[in-house]
């Protein structure tokens, strides 16, 4: 990766493409902006692209199809843009292998923040998918449904999770039996670094324990590792 990461912006709307390209350039990226999938394929073949920002709804070949093509041929991260808020779009997009998903109208600052999170993860060799992909994880009698951001207990009753609880639960479910430090958990769930007195993770852990532990005082699922952090001590199956 060069000093200035090279982004490929694919959007048929000139009114978005041009100002967004300008904004991203001002924020330290090299940007190539194209208006359709065919042109994007040419650029992908000819240039060393570090990340693709892709509009889903485009005339001709749509963003999802191009996303699948990119995933089949390379490891280049993809952020999808869409104007539709339907859940199914998001899930389909993530199933196609997109790394993140941004709803129009979006804050350009937030887009930049997400791009940076992805680059940092790539740089540290992190796993590709941290975003929900519509899958269900099963552990210790519980189901974690990513599509609905909810836990389902043995009786089939859903316990909806807050965003923070859900992110934390996902971090554990995708890394069972690994010891995760507070810093790691913060980085995975919120993309930020912990300061010395940060108790946010501990609060979320205790909230999660109240929900899933038979006895929150003596946790058997989310265990505390002294000096290390926390670990989910259970077999996790992805359904």
């Amino acid at each position: 990766m060069s000093e200035r990461p090279h982004l490929l912006l694919v959007d048929d709307e000139r009114s978005i493409r041009e100002p967004l390209a300008q904004y991203l350039s001002r924020n330290g990226f090299r940007v190539t902006a194209v208006e359709n999938a065919a042109e994007a394929r040419l650029r992908l073949a000819a240039n060393a692209i570090d990340l693709v920002i892709l509009d889903i709804m485009m005339p001709g070949e749509d963003g999802l199809s191009l996303c699948r093509h990119i995933r089949e041929t390379s490891e280049i991260p993809v952020i999808l843009l869409t104007a539709r808020s339907e859940e199914t779009d998001r899930i389909v997009g993530l199933e196609m292998g997109a790394d993140d998903y941004v709803l129009k109208p979006f804050s350009p600052r937030e887009l930049v923040a997400r791009i940076k999170v992805i680059f940092r993860r790539v740089a540290t060799g992190g796993q590709r998918v941290t975003a929900p992909d519509g899958a269900t994880y099963a552990f210790a009698g519980w189901l974690l449904k990513t599509q609905e951001r909810t836990l389902v207990d043995a009786e089939g009753v859903s316990l909806p999770l807050s965003t923070a609880e859900y992110n934390l639960m996902m971090a554990f479910a995708t890394r069972p039996n690994q010891v995760l430090s507070r810093d790691q958990l913060l980085d995975i769930t919120q993309g930020r670094e912990a300061n010395a007195f940060d108790r946010a993770i501990d609060n979320q852990i205790s909230r999660l324990r109240k929900k899933i532990e038979p006895d929150a005082k003596n946790p058997t699922l989310i265990k505390t590792v002294w000096g290390g952090g926390y670990t989910l001590s259970a077999e996790v199956r992805k359904l």
Partner: protein, 459 residues
């Protein structure tokens, strides 16, 4: 007025009850006619013997053939004159007068062509001597002989002025045995008529019931399976028509959804463009205000699209712990630094679409924060229902404005500034979501001040 409980509500029930009543009335009329006819026959059979005796006696009366005294005729005369008394004054009759017999006898005399001047009839009873076999039986068994009373009818006729003739004859009276026969006949009729009717009714009722169920389901969810076409022709046609209507409505709703999706997309694209461009505005305050306005427009658009799509959710309902749900929503608000707290509540499981309830609750909490400074959220069980309560510390709403608040595009008086924002769709959307769940949105002013908005859901 409360309806009589015996009167059934269903079509089949009403038909059967009506037919049963009609059958019973017809049977009663039949019975009345039969009884009348039987009485006439009875009367005739009582009257006839005395009348014929009188006629015979008059035919051979002594003053009829003064010159002739034929031997053969004389025997007849003797026989016919037996049991007949002639008198010159009106005989005194004992017992109960029988005007009905008098009338019948008069009619019979008239039919024969005999003119009589006056008729009197009476009935009494007397003890008859025991018959021979009865005496024997009584002796053999030691039983006391039964009271042997028989009815006796006396008829006196004035056949010429001042000349009376009277005669008497035994009459029997049969006790009527119609009651049991009527009941049996009615029951047989009921079985013959009502059983096929019941069968027919069920044939009608089953497809109608399916239609009702399907229509109800459709009204509630906007989705329903087509109804199987069965039953008699008329009902089958109704089912066909219903299925056609259902298909058309679904097609229209699908079309609406597609259109809304397109509108959403078309409006969000320029909004996104604006949002990106705001970043090039130098003045930071101005930039923040612009992006806030765009965010607001986007949320309005969201609300409009959601309201228009209400009742057509693709999400499936499942058992959800509403306390966990409320807690999760509150936690997300706290995370953003909003003044919201959750009051510890017991587990409360209901069958709902979780995303929709989340949305409804978020709307209530946002309202509470905007209009009532703080939001206190709790979940309660109440009379088989679950209430998710959002209480605030604001001024509340005037009682007469409560209903109005739930209509689309209504906002509190004095809140039409951009500061508080919103298109006034929030509560309308909440209400639509609640209606889809068979629940309701309730607003009430709290005794200590502030508004209490409750999502009431069936447990």
């Amino acid at each position: 007025m409360k309806q009589l409980r015996l009167w059934p509500q269903s079509l089949v029930g009403q038909i059967i009850v009506l037919v049963a009543i009609a059958l019973f009335v017809a049977q009663a009329i039949n019975f009345g006619l039969l009884l009348r006819e039987r009485n006439r026959v009875e009367l005739t059979s009582q009257t006839a013997p005395v009348v014929y005796r009188v006629i015979n006696a008059l035919d051979v009366r002594p003053d009829r053939w003064p010159g002739r005294d034929n031997r053969e005729q004389g025997e007849d005369r003797d026989r016919d004159r037996r049991n007949v008394d002639f008198a010159t004054t009106r005989p005194t009759l004992t017992g109960k007068p029988r005007p009905d017999v008098e009338a019948r006898a008069a009619a019979m005399f008239e039919d024969i062509g005999l003119t009589v001047h006056a008729i009197a009839a009476a009935e009494d009873s007397r003890i008859m001597p025991l018959r021979r076999w009865e005496q024997i039986r009584s002796r053999a068994t030691g039983e006391a002989p039964r009271d042997h009373r028989v009815g006796r009818l006396t008829l006196a006729v004035e056949y010429e002025p001042g000349k009376w003739l009277s005669t008497e004859a035994r009459i029997g009276s049969r006790p009527p045995r119609f009651g049991g026969w009527l009941v049996a006949q009615t029951l047989i009729l009921y079985v013959i008529v009502l059983i096929p009717l019941l069968w027919m009714g069920r044939r009608f009722a089953r497809p109608l019931k399916q239609l009702t169920g399907s229509a109800r389901q459709f009204a509630r969810t906007g989705l329903a399976d087509p109804v199987e076409e069965s039953g008699p022709g008329d009902v089958r046609q109704l089912t066909t028509a219903f299925n056609a209507m259902r298909a058309r409505i679904i097609a229209m709703l699908d079309e609406k959804d597609r259109m809304l999706g397109a509108i959403g997309h078309d409006l969000r694209t320029p909004l996104a463009s604006l949002r990106v461009r705001t970043e090039s505005v130098e003045d930071e305050g101005e930039r923040a205000r612009m992006s806030q306005t765009i965010e607001e427009m986007n949320r309005m658009l969201d609300d409009i699209l959601s309201l228009a799509r209400a009742g057509r959710s693709s999400e499936t309902a499942q058992k959800v712990d509403l306390t966990s749900l409320a807690d999760a929503v509150v936690e997300d608000f706290i995370e953003l630094g909003s003044p919201v707290d959750m009051i510890d509540s017991d587990r409360a499981v209901a069958f709902v679409r979780a995303q929709q309830i989340r949305r409804a609750l978020r709307n209530l909490i946002e309202n509470a924060i905007v209009y009532g400074d703080r939001a206190h959220v709790s979940v309660q069980h109440q009379d088989g229902a679950i209430r998710i309560i959002v209480a605030d510390e604001g001024p509340g709403i005037a009682e007469d404005k409560m209903g109005e608040m739930m209509e689309p595009f209504t906002r509190l008086e004095g809140s039409r500034n951009r500061e508080t924002g919103g298109a006034g769709l929030g509560l309308a959307l909440v209400r639509a979501i609640m209606a889809e769940h068979g629940g309701s949105l309730q607003l009430a002013n709290r005794p200590g001040g502030g508004l209490e908005a409750s999502l009431v859901l069936p447990a």
